[in-house]
Symmetry: C2
Subunit: 198 residues, 2 copies
Amino acid sequence: MESAAVPPSEERRRDAAATRRRLLEAARDLFAERGYEGATVRSIAARAGVNQALLFRYFGSKRGLLAEVVALGGLEQLRATPPEELFETALRSMLTRSAEEAEDRSLEVYLRSVGRGDEAAGTLRELGEEYQSVLAGLSGAPDGALRADLAMAWLLGIGLMRTVVAREPLAGADPDEVCRLVLGTLSHLWAETGDGGA
Amino acid sequence: MESAAVPPSEERRRDAAATRRRLLEAARDLFAERGYEGATVRSIAARAGVNQALLFRYFGSKRGLLAEVVALGGLEQLRATPPEELFETALRSMLTRSAEEAEDRSLEVYLRSVGRGDEAAGTLRELGEEYQSVLAGLSGAPDGALRADLAMAWLLGIGLMRTVVAREPLAGADPDEVCRLVLGTLSHLWAETGDGGA
DNA sequence: TACCGTTGTAAGCAGCTGCTTACATCCGGG
DNA sequence: CCCGGATGTAAGCAGCTGCTTACAACGGTA
């Protein structure tokens, strides 16, 4: 069947596994750049250098492709990150120009794809709920889940302003500086009593 | 058959001004509900109860319609609100189920429409910059504009999570409760020195 | 060598998009 | 009255969408 060994230095000319991988990477990047609806199957296939019919052969539908992208890039990485590091990790991944070698761009996909009565919504909702449940454990308050939602709202909002709106000064700000401001402020959210904040 | 729900002795049967207004209201609502790309000219015309060709006669293009919606609903209202009330006003409009009688839904339009490599981006950018310049005056810090961007990011993020993702507990939370948490926390952002936050 | 499943390709489907065109119909002013 | 612009309508354009189909070419196996 499949000779497990990777070809020494030559690419096989017919390689289903490599084609699948190329499609997944192209889809990950295009979903992140243009959102689910904005990335067409033709553009994904073109970036992968592959005939678009193969996309449907390997993933069944465009939505199937999205599900696999989110499962690989988002959910796996999320489950591998300790809860107390999750927010800062996610924030920094939002703040870092994902020029090259970005494994997980699922939050970009998320914020560029929600907003319509999409079919993408269902697939992305699961990812959002995982984030919520992890962040909810960070506050001792009984309304931890609400505060987690608010924290995630800020995270998404910052990503929206930075990578989508791309407006100065946020777009070009030093990630460390932004992290300091946001994390410093958010520490008050976890402790906020709501009786005036002072 | 087609007499529809037209009051017998009230409206003129051919009224360009009324038709324009109906189109503007339908566009405002559909842009807010589905985003610029998601709202089709056919759906807008249908909701307005108007032939879609009239949309192009009165506004030239779909984008021209958007520009007028934003100018009327967003910019006018923004300029009429005192700076120190702007954030809370905008936050509350995000938190209030805009079931009926919502004059200004421009922030909903904004957050559902950014994210695509849209043609809508240019029109909406102006609105965002107005918000930024007003909010930037609220902090005495030299990086006031950055903090304004961060505040607006939270505002948009909350709107995104509440009206788009619509996930509990944020979606159903008491607006007053959310306002208290957010405003209490944000007061620290205006004062945050960045040397630890505590 | 002959075979046959796997991999890749070209073309086309119906349905939607923003927008245009050619044509009815109304209604006020001569 | 009756004409002409304002208003409303139906049909259709080219281009795009996700997806399917029929077919060609490869390459391991018997």
